[in-house]
């Protein structure tokens, strides 16, 4: 498992993270080195999960890609542009653990928000919102208020909102973290279906190993203090993953592999002794 270096990156790459370090409160007593020399290249159509112990900087890495914060050193390219330029051009959609829906807007109006900010006409917005509601299978709930919906439904609305402008890239920060196990597995299947239908590249932060394995074709394992990428594990469960996939040996094999990698990342001094099955 090698990390592709920046020299190999091309303009068509979805995301290029080039030797990025992030230090919060630099020079102060509460200085934190959140990320150290991180390199990562994500190809169009990839579903990449960032996994690691809390404090490993996975959310920080996502926020750097989103250009919500700027790196202390290094650079981030999104769609061949600087991350901040990509943000201005709304090249990505974003979803958080809290759905973050505006409670004073109907479901439909929430989905229309990014389109409104892009200056789309009302009829065009309404049409796209209807399409998105269909995609997340909430067609009957367009005129409902968000607080009338269950947590899982709210999260689906948030995903619809993040995809409304058809961004080529979707950034998700533990979007299913607050959901119960059953809803969560259902949402994972939904997300795969939606992303396949819309051909979206996804960067997905999670701390659930089965979630990362089930969803991704690449799992990026990170370690804490300072946050760095220790291993990238390729997963190939096939495009036709379903509920049965969760009971297959290959699925468990990959879960074990990621778990071992995480354990190895935690205690780098000890002998690893990983045996891939």
């Amino acid at each position: 498992m090698s990390v592709r270096g920046s020299t190999q990156s091309v303009a068509s790459d979805a995301v290029v993270v080039d030797r990025v370090s992030m230090i919060f409160n630099e020079g102060k007593s509460n200085e934190v080195e959140a990320l150290c020399d991180v390199e990562l290249v994500i190809c169009p159509g990839d579903f990449v999960s960032l996994i690691g112990p809390s404090g490993c900087g996975k959310s920080t890495l996502l926020r750097l890609i989103a250009s919500l914060i700027s790196p202390t050193s290094g650079s981030v390219l999104v769609n061949g542009k600087s991350a901040s330029q990509a943000r201005v051009e709304q090249d990505y959609g974003m979803a958080f653990q809290q759905s973050g829906l505006f409670e004073w807007r109907t479901v439909e109006k929430n989905i229309e928000l990014p389109l409104e900010l892009k200056g789309w006409s009302k009829s065009r917005r309404r049409q796209r919102a209807t399409e998105m509601l269909e995609l997340v299978q909430l067609s009957d709930f367009g005129s409902h208020m968000p607080w009338e919906l269950s947590g899982g439904m709210q999260q689906r609305v948030a995903i619809a909102r993040s995809l409304a402008a058809h961004p080529p890239l979707l950034l998700m920060d533990e979007p299913f973290g607050a959901l119960d196990e059953m809803t969560r597995e259902h949402m994972q299947a939904e997300l795969l279906r939606i992303c396949a239908a819309s051909e979206t590249t996804v960067v997905f932060v999670t701390h659930s190993i089965p979630e990362a394995v089930y969803l991704s074709n690449r799992v990026v394992v990170m370690s804490a203090r300072p946050g760095r990428i220790t291993e990238i594990i390729d997963v190939d469960l096939g495009a036709d993953r379903d509920e049965d996939t969760r009971e297959e040996a290959t699925f468990y094999g990959k879960i074990t592999e990621v778990r071992e990698a995480l354990r190895g990342a935690e205690t780098t001094d000890e002998p690893r002794g990983i045996e891939d099955r």
């Binding site: 943000r87 709304q90 809290q98």
Partner: protein, 283 residues
Amino acid sequence: MILRGVRRVALFFLALALVAAVWEFYIVVGPEKGGEVFGMRVLPRASGRAMPHTWEMGQRLFDPEVRGQDRPIWLAVLGYSWYTFRMALAGFAIGCVFGMALAVVMTRFRVVERGLLPYVIASQTVPLIALAPQVAALGGNWDLPKWTWVAALGAFLAFFPVSIATLKGLSAAPAASLELMDSYAASWSTTLWKLRFPAAVPYIVPGMKLAATAAVIGVIVSEISTGVRGVGFAALTYAQKATSDPAQVYTAVFGAALLGLSMFGLVVAIEVFAMRNRPAEAN
């Protein structure tokens, strides 16, 4: 819904009857010359001059303001109250707009907040009685109609609660929502309009409730010290005749109470409208 409305109205009249009963009870048991403790009067006089019976007040409503007139006094008081109501409404509206604008500026520029907030707070400790004649003189210089500066003084009291409530509300938007707007590269004003302001509404509405009553008080007090003929001025003139006509002043009190309730009702209507699509626990 209808049943609840009927119950509310019934409760209102029950409370009114209770107040009247307490009033009458005190007239019966209270000391004629008032009660004194160590030379300080702590209990009001229960004499007919100081405390007329409730039915006398009721009857007085249908007698004319001055003997010989045809028009019953309730009509006159209603006229005064309507005049005061319009000034209070103008003051409330100006106060709300100014208060919100001030909060927006203070939110946008932290320096302004630090510099201005102490003065905003200090402004509320200036006695209105002292300020009113000054503002009146200023209004006179500018050739403004009298009611405008009385309304301005109402606004002077009304802007404060709205401003403080809005200031708090504008910073109440969830961090995740702010980050979302950030991810859209939305400008500050877009974020204000689409997120911060709607998120502040549940905070602004209670501020408006305080502002409505503050505007009424501001206008009534300003009337007294500037001689604009609204219900506050009427209360003052009636009070001067209290020895010969003790019930008359209470007709003005009723007018003022009605006015206050109307203002409050207006804000409740605003609340129902502004909060119509909000989750129940926010109401």
